[in-house]
């Protein structure tokens, strides 16, 4: 959910919309914001599942320290989505376990 109106910060500033793809589904994002913010705004809260027990995880620190928010971004696993800005056409996948690196050619 977006904070559209704020008593101190005022209305949400206008920004360009960029589209990203999460597990094959297109969602809108505000240009320049971190991936995690766009996902939470779209109601997505499970970012990855753990290696051994397959437990769900989502953002915990939001400042790039804890690595609970990592996902596979454009084929690269373990990207910290809370400190990585969105880009038009970015492909994001819920990460299972440690993720898989793209095949080496």
């Amino acid at each position: 959910m977006r904070v559209e109106e704020h008593p101190i910060l005022g209305p949400l500033p206008k920004t360009e919309t960029v589209w990203i793809e999460v597990d094959g589904k297109k969602i809108p994002a505000r240009a320049g914001e971190p991936i995690a913010a766009a996902l939470l705004a779209a109601g997505i809260r499970v970012f990855r599942t753990t290696h051994r027990r397959g437990e769900p995880r989502g953002p915990f620190c939001a400042v790039g320290r804890c690595t609970d928010c990592v996902m596979t971004v454009d084929g690269v696993p373990n990207v910290r989505t809370c400190v990585t800005p969105v880009r038009e056409g970015m492909k994001i996948e819920t990460q299972r376990g440690l993720g898989r690196w793209p095949e080496l050619k």
Binding site: V3, A37, V46, F47, G58, C61, A62, V63, P85
Partner: protein, 368 residues
């Protein structure tokens, strides 16, 4: 690896401590570079939309993010170089290993100020890893910086200033807050903050703790319970809340990796949040030419971070060969202001703790 850079004073961290250090060192005449991993400098202040406490000299009544804007503007005006999107990952003698805009390189300096801040503590209970359980500072980052609510119905753990302020800021952002849970018998934060959230109808459950969090794939409910005199949950006092956000405001720990790596001597100090590097009255560590300031030298407040930053900046510049003409007076004035900030029931513990850290530093120096 890109080309190595050289400066006179390097500052790691662009929060109030780092910016204040940079400004003081620059005013003394040194060439200064500040590195910060974020897209914009300002540190914690960027998220603080409430009015600050303290005296006028310490920006009382001003909102944190405005103070950050002013500090950044002053630094730019004075010619401090601010390198954003730059992470310092290591320190080797007087050289920092950095990753700037995704490219690795080095930054060598005559003296270095570490002002890396602190990180939020976690709390362990069944279900604490469910999506929807997060640090209070994380929730604050999402609502105030990124303008997105990480949940609609929240419960806060910890009634210190951070917990109380975030409760209020969640309400401002449009969330519902069902309560604040505090294990201690009394509220730790300022009475003004507590009164504000009580007026908004948010109950504060003192002598209570979180028993567990539960949900299918993500947070759906949290159960709390009252504690007896020995800190054990009282059977029958459990209460369950249907919520989708649980914010943990249970303290901060100084971010000291670089100081450990540099070989600084440390001391464990509960009132300052954990292990802190021994330092002198001038904020110099046990590694010559390496200075510390702000939350990483002991978790306190933005106001104290500014003064410590000033001391560290003046001393770092002097070490690099730039003695401010009124060095001793300026240092004495900053120390006096620090002492004033560390008085009263909230500050005294921190005052004594810092005194002890300085005493240990002196002991180390005298034994050399």
């Amino acid at each position: 690896m890109a080309g190595a850079e050289v400066t006179e004073v390097a500052v790691v961290g662009g929060g109030p401590a780092g910016l204040s250090a940079a400004l003081a060192a620059r005013q003394a005449g040194a060439k200064v570079i500040v590195v910060d991993e974020n897209a914009a400098p300002g540190g914690q202040l960027r998220k603080q939309i409430h009015k600050f406490f303290g005296s006028k000299e310490h920006h009382a009544g001003r909102r944190g993010f405005r103070i950050a804007e002013e500090l950044v503007a002053a630094c730019r005006e004075q010619g401090v170089e601010l390198w954003t999107d730059t992470l310092a990952y290591g320190i080797f003698d007087h050289t920092l290993g950095i990753v700037r805009g995704g490219t690795a390189s080095t930054l060598a300096a005559r003296s270095i100020v570490l002002a890396t801040g602190a990180s939020e503590n976690a709390l362990a209970f069944p279900g604490c890893t469910l999506p929807g359980v997060m640090g209070a500072g994380a929730a604050q980052t999402f609502i105030n910086l990124h303008r997105v609510l990480p949940g609609r119905r929240a419960l806060i753990v910890g009634a210190g200033n951070v917990g109380l302020i975030i409760t209020y800021q969640l309400l401002q952002a449009g969330a519902e807050v069902l309560g604040v849970v505090e294990a201690a018998p009394r509220i730790g934060g300022y009475a003004v903050h507590a009164a504000k959230i009580r007026r908004a109808g948010v109950p504060i459950y003192t002598r209570h703790t979180v028993l567990n969090a539960a949900g299918h794939g993500e947070l759906e409910e949290v159960t709390i319970a009252a504690l007896d005199e020995n800190g054990w949950p009282i059977a029958g006092s459990e209460r369950t809340f249907a919520i989708d956000l649980l914010c943990l405001a249970v303290g901060l720990t100084p971010l000291t990796e670089l100081a450990w790596q540099a070989g600084c001597l440390f001391e464990y100090c509960g009132p300052l949040g954990g292990h802190v590097p021994l330092h002198s009255e001038d904020m110099e560590t046990t590694v010559p030419g390496l200075f510390v300031a702000g939350d990483m030298a002991g978790v306190e407040e933005a106001s104290t971070a500014l003064e410590e930053g000033r001391l560290a900046g003046l001393a770092a510049a002097a070490y690099a060969g730039y003695r401010s003409p009124n060095l001793e007076e300026e240092k004495a004035a900053a120390r006096e202001r620090l002492q004033a900030l560390r008085s009263g029931p909230f500050g005294e513990g921190r005052y004594l703790a810092h005194e002890e850290i300085v005493r240990r530093w002196l002991k180390w120096r005298d034994a050399r």
